[in-house]
């Protein structure tokens, strides 16, 4: 169909932008998530309490509320100080995706750390290792293989959640889709079908890799 052929280049650029959003935000989310998890597991209330509050708030509010708050709310305040150049769809989108997913990754990290038997930590500490040595040499290497499936799943969720930047006029696949739908409102369904196919091409292979890895992991355990 010629409509799909016309739309395909723009849609592919949109898909590329989706992948850019995700490949930039996800590592940020992983790093921030590790930091949050370490803070949350600390016995010092100065670290654990703000981390808990951050995680609860990020998980308790919708991502669309967060992106409106950051793009329009904080953007309006930034405009007063002539800093509005740092407030565009890219930075706001990446910031919201990274912060929101950091909260979820922190829970995955914490679960991974708890899944390593406490007996390992007890043995390490009774052998004279410090907590830090215990963490990096004993707990973390055993936790990482268990945490990879949820991380890959969260990456797939982020691929889908990146569509949220449509509401702040981003240049992601959904924004391109709606642009084309509004200019070709007589036949929108082929455009939706094309966008759905592109999203499936991005998410299905990743989910099959995740399931394959998880099957191998469970067999090894």
């Amino acid at each position: 169909m010629s409509l799909i052929q016309q739309a395909l280049p723009a849609f592919l650029i949109g898909a590329r932008n989706t992948l850019i959003y995700c490949f930039v935000s996800f590592p940020l989310a992983l790093l921030l998530g590790l930091l949050l998890a370490l803070m949350r597991s600390s016995r010092v209330a100065w670290f654990s309490s703000p981390a808990k509050i951050f995680i609860e708030v990020m998980r308790g509010t919708p991502i669309i509320t967060q992106i409106f708050l950051i793009y329009y709310g904080i953007g309006a305040v930034l405009a007063v100080y002539n800093l509005s150049t740092i407030d565009n769809a890219w930075t706001a989108g990446i910031a919201v995706l990274a912060l929101n997913y950091a909260a979820y990754e922190a829970e995955v990290y914490r679960a991974g750390f708890l899944s390593v038997e406490h007996g390992q930590t007890e043995a390490a500490l009774s052998l004279g290792m410090t907590s830090g040595q215990n963490f990096f040499r004993i707990v973390l290497p055993q936790a990482i293989p268990l945490m990879i499936p949820p991380f890959v799943n969260d990456f797939i969720y982020m691929l889908k959640d990146s569509a949220i930047v449509y509401v702040i006029s981003g240049t992601e696949l959904t924004s391109v889709l709606q642009q084309w739908v509004f200019t070709h409102s007589s036949t929108p369904i082929p455009l939706y079908a094309l966008a759905i196919v592109l999203y499936l091409l991005m998410s299905l292979p990743t989910s099959y890799v995740a399931r394959w890895y998880e099957r191998r992991l469970r067999a090894a355990l």
């Binding site: 919708p62 991502i63 509320t65 709310g73 829970e107 708890l114 959640d161």
Partner: protein, 318 residues
């Protein structure tokens, strides 16, 4: 001796309780400061809060209706996934994979701007139907003009969550030991009786905990209906915030809205954790892993096994 009775732990620093106490003092001051911030914007609160609370009621109503419809879709989907009839298995699998592989925002836009426009061209208009229906009760002015957006938005949400609930129901049904089904059948029950008296009561124990998580994510995803123009909480927040010129007031309205969402979702998440603590025995895992399962979903092959891993079957919001 006392020392061998306690667990091995790092040396506790003696100044830790003092530091923690100091933190809680600072936290109390910060909370008071936030209360003062609310007090400074009291005029905005008294102006907007009633409308925001009304819209929050709409949001909860949308969530409840969508959840009920999603359970229906999910049940049909699970029966399809588990059916012996290959075409219905194929249709159900395509439904689950496609719906879970695409963003919910795209699906909502498809339902309203794609399928809705198509159906209205073919003569099916939800607003007119609702209007004519409510005329019988002489209350057709109760039907909002954007009723079509409500209609397709709720269908879109239910369709999406139905795919996730399909996997939850399938996992629950498959988690019941096959031996139970075999025993029931060998005792002379037919498969409908087996399902009703043996399988489903045990499956429900597995499926209840994820529901509270789905409810929370559904509340958050209902905010996406604002894109269709539905007057629920997020749309109301936006409509109040955009005309404000003072950036501090604008930011405050967004923060107020986020607080209302948090006030809805946080108690439910506490309830979810409570329920999971009670149902944790069904998973035969420790309490900590039950906490893990709040963030992730379970596949059918994972349930009933000692090793818990989290694969796709969505959960939170995430």
């Amino acid at each position: 001796m006392q020392q061998t009775m306690t667990g091995v732990e790092p040396r506790t620093r003696s100044w830790l309780p003092v530091i923690n106490a100091l933190y809680y003092v600072v936290l109390a001051v910060a909370v008071l400061g936030f209360g003062y911030y609310l007090y400074r914007n009291l005029d905005l609160i008294t102006l907007y809060l009633p409308f925001l609370l009304q819209a929050a009621g709409t949001t909860i109503g949308i969530t409840v209706v969508s959840m009920v419809l999603a359970m229906i879709f999910g049940f049909i989907g699970a029966l399809g996934r588990l059916s012996r009839f290959a075409p219905s298995r194929a249709i159900a699998t395509v439904y689950v994979e496609v719906v879970r592989g695409t963003p919910i925002l795209v699906q909502l836009l498809l339902w309203y701007f794609g399928i809705g426009q198509l159906l209205s061209k073919l003569g099916f208009d939800p607003y007119n139907l609702a209007f004519n229906f409510m005329t019988i009760f002489q209350s057709n002015s109760l039907v909002p003009i954007i009723f079509s957006a409500f209609f397709y938005g709720i269908i879109g949400l239910s369709f999406n969550y139905g795919a996730y609930l399909t996997e939850v129901f399938r996992a629950g049904i498959e988690s019941v030991n096959k031996g139970q089904t075999e025993a029931a059948l060998s005792l002379g029950m037919n498969s409908r009786q087996t399902m009703r008296h043996i399988v489903l009561p045990q499956a429900i124990r597995i499926t209840i905990p994820p529901f509270t998580n789905y409810f929370i994510t559904l509340v958050q995803d209902s905010a996406l209906l604002s894109v269709l123009g539905v007057t629920e909480l997020e749309q109301t927040i936006g409509s109040f915030a955009y005309p404000l010129l003072n950036p501090n007031q604008k930011l405050f309205v967004f923060i107020l809205g986020a607080m209302i969402y948090f006030a809805i979702c946080y108690p439910i998440s506490l309830l979810a954790r409570l329920l999971e603590g009670r149902f944790a025995r069904a998973y035969q895992i420790t309490g900590d892993k039950a906490d893990m399962l709040t963030t992730d979903m379970l596949t059918s092959d994972m349930l009933g096994k000692q090793v818990v891993s989290f694969s796709e079957d969505e959960g939170n919001n995430k």
